[in-house]
């Protein structure tokens, strides 16, 4: 096989490009308002620590469209992707690029809360419809809430809130909360102590580890000196693996039960191994949820991507479901802004995670499950909190 000479290909590409450009300039005359493809922007991390989360979200989104030949509300979809690298410093530029240059009809993003905040600022000014498939920053559906901004995942307030009730029910009335000292960690700590105190527990101490430091030994020693009834925590990824293993290695696991928001054991159970056995966590999803929707979803995901679906894939999937509901109502016309927003506000999503609805501030009202790690799997023990709604503080919508 002979390869075309590079300069020839380059020239050919240039000519094609020039032709396309000439064609495009004629397009407005032809009038292409509705026959056009739906422009969907994906602003997600495709490199860096959260790369896998970005991929899982996109996979989930595309899977939901697979039944409709990849269409949304009967319209073909054109994707515009930008890798946000989970870098808050580039968030405004990236969001600007995808909103003003690519002129997307709807923007789906992102994973990192800091990046999401930058993105939301741009989207609020431009009025672009935004669906957040992960980032939990409370403000997105709190003081920064806006008619054009929706979230299909959770607020940071939600996952740690039900923990307190569960712990008091298990007879643990004095607890230490430990997390990383950054936005999501602080919001998790606040919501935990709110829920725990309300349930009748008392927080002996809140410990904050500098982010993203993973040297926990000093604080584990302090926990042993305080001797609380239980410890609750918020960690994810590499830090979650190390904390759970260190906690067990320090001999604390059998003496002081460890609780956490579900991110503690999402996607890292293999690495945590024996040390994670018996951990109790709360989250809006569990792989082992025994519902027809979840079974079907997991099988389809495995078939399509040869990988196990996780909570992030579910969130991406639900983002597409929500958009689908809205576009079905308007016959595929995303320009009918008020109708689209009203449809999303009223949507009831039959998700693999269970049925959920939108709150007044556009954050899911959803069940939180209590899960116990058994044989390297998050087994559902029960529902820790039915239809938990974020208080949406500061939202005047």
């Amino acid at each position: 096989m002979t390869k075309p000479r590079p300069e020839l290909t380059a020239r050919r590409e240039f000519l094609i490009g020039a032709g396309a450009l000439a064609g495009m300039s004629l397009m407005p005359l032809a009038g292409c308002a509705k026959s056009d493809k739906l422009r969907v922007g994906l602003m997600l991390p495709y490199t860096g620590t959260y790369a896998q989360l970005g991929v899982a979200i996109e996979n989930g989104f595309r899977l939901a469209l697979a039944d409709q030949d990849g269409k949304l509300g009967g319209r073909e979809v054109e994707y515009f992707k930008v890798d946000d690298e989970s870098n808050p410093a580039k968030a405004t530029d990236n969001a600007n690029e995808i909103i003003t240059r690519d002129k997307v009809d709807v923007l789906i993003g992102t994973v990192h809360s800091g990046v999401a905040m930058g993105m939301i600022k741009v989207a609020r000014e431009a009025g672009t419809l935004v669906l957040i498939p992960n980032a939990g920053a409370n403000a997105a559906t709190g003081e920064l809430c806006s008619p054009n901004i929706f979230r299909t995942s959770f607020s940071n307030w939600q996952p740690t809130h039900p923990l307190g009730k569960v712990m008091v029910e298990n007879g643990h009335k004095k607890a230490v909360f430990i997390t990383w000292n950054y936005g999501a960690g602080q919001q998790a700590a606040e919501s935990f102590s709110e829920g725990y105190t309300a349930a009748g527990g008392s927080v002996a101490k809140q410990m904050f580890v500098p982010f993203p430091n993973v040297e926990f030994q000093a604080l584990l020693t302090e926990i042993a000196a305080i001797k609380p009834d239980a410890v609750a925590c918020f960690f994810a990824g590499g830090g979650a693996v190390k904390f759970v293993k260190d906690y067990a290695a320090a001999g604390l696991k059998d003496k002081i039960p460890l609780y956490g928001s579900g991110f503690l054991t999402e996607g890292v159970l293999g690495a945590q191994g024996e040390a994670a056995e018996g951990l109790l966590t709360t989250l809006h999803y569990a792989d082992s949820l025994d519902t027809p929707q979840n079974r079907a979803f997991r099988t389809a995901y495995l078939d399509a991507y040869s990988a196990q679906a996780d909570v992030y894939a579910v969130q991406g999937y639900d983002t597409a479901l929500l958009l689908q509901k809205a576009l079905e109502q308007t016959g595929g016309d995303i320009g009918k802004r008020d109708a689209v927003i009203a449809a999303m506000e009223g949507a009831v999503i039959d998700s693999p995670r269970g049925q959920w609805t939108m709150s007044r501030a556009h954050n899911p009202i959803q069940d939180f499950y209590l899960r116990r790690v058994e044989n390297g799997d998050n087994k559902v023990v029960g529902v820790a909190w039915k239809a938990l709604e974020d208080p949406a503080r500061g939202c005047n919508m």
Binding site: Q52, M207, F211, E215, Q217, V241, A249, G267, A271
Partner: protein, 299 residues
């Protein structure tokens, strides 16, 4: 804090400090002897941890993975020196920073291609898997104690190598005057290649033996790199002894910064600002001794 807890925290601090020394010693060695600022040092730490993980999976034992990993990292160090680093000796630090920063990106991409972006963990070898009970609540993992012991032994070996062997003498000579050493008939290229490989192997070895306690994840190299630079700067750039002193101090400052409560004028300073403690400490040391604790006098 009662005395017993205080002693345990002291142990925590020293243990953390010794591990820091192991990583930082390679960095300070490469700078002190070759004059190269090696930003990719953290990547070698990460490579070591991933090697420990993948080799112990393939070879079935941590104890076989360890020597194999050392051989591979020495080879990697030699290759890198031959390909890239040797062109840097006569160039200014900015170019060194640029190239070694490029290496960080390359290693992180290679890691992603070879091993993926997952978090992994390496099982503590059965021999050292136990824990020693310290209080009724707390026990201390035997592996961590072993880790400290290995660091102390390595520090001793390095001291002996540099101060009391012929190779060490050549290294010291090469560090103080490259041309003169060369004219005495010592093959400086081979010498530098060995020193660089030693530095890489030290970082990779630290990553390997830290892997069972620290889990293996993509950003681990960059995290350690910053602390290592703090250690090297406080210790006096290029001084291995200084790095030892600085690493222990940083270990203690970091540990106690997280647990001691300090209030100034009703404002809680510690542990709220624990993340800053080592940097504040560095600033204080540098105000007192701008060249670091122990600085090698070359001129």
């Amino acid at each position: 804090m009662d005395t017993y807890t205080f002693l345990i925290q002291l142990l925590n601090g020293i243990q953390y400090g010794l591990l820091l020394f192991l990583v930082a010693s390679g960095l300070t060695l490469i700078f002190g002897i070759m004059g190269v600022i090696n930003l990719s040092h953290g990547s070698f730490y990460m490579v070591g941890a991933y090697l420990a993980w993948s080799l112990s999976q393939h070879l079935g034992s941590f104890w076989i993975a360890l020597p194999t990993g050392i051989v591979l990292s020495v080879a990697l160090g030699m290759l890198l020196e031959w390909l890239f680093i040797k062109h840097l000796y006569r160039r200014d630090h900015l170019q060194q920073v640029l190239l070694t920063y490029g290496l960080i990106l390359i290693f992180s991409e290679l890691r992603s291609i070879l091993w993926g972006d997952d978090v992994h963990s390496v099982a503590v070898p059965a021999l050292l898997a136990g824990s020693i009970p310290l209080t009724e609540m707390l026990s201390y993992p035997v592996y961590r104690l072993w880790l400290s012991l290995v660091c102390v032994i390595l520090a001793g070996l390095m001291y002996y190598l540099i101060q009391h062997t012929k190779l060490g003498m050549m290294i010291r000579a090469g560090a103080s005057n490259r041309e003169m050493t060369q004219s005495l008939g010592i093959n400086i290229d081979v010498l530098y290649r060995s020193v660089f490989a030693l530095g890489v192997a030290l970082a990779a070895f630290a990553g390997m033996i830290a892997a069972p306690v620290s889990s293996v994840f993509p950003g681990m190299g960059n995290q350690v790199l910053i602390v290592c630079f703090v250690v090297v700067v406080i210790g006096g750039i290029g001084s291995v002894k200084g790095a030892m002193a600085a690493a222990l101090l940083i270990g203690l400052v970091d540990t106690f910064g997280k647990v001691v409560e300090v209030e100034i004028g009703g404002l809680r300073i510690l542990p709220e600002l624990a993340g800053m403690s080592i940097y504040v400490f560095m600033a204080i040391v540098l105000l007192w001794r701008p060249e670091g604790l122990l600085v090698r006098r070359q001129h």
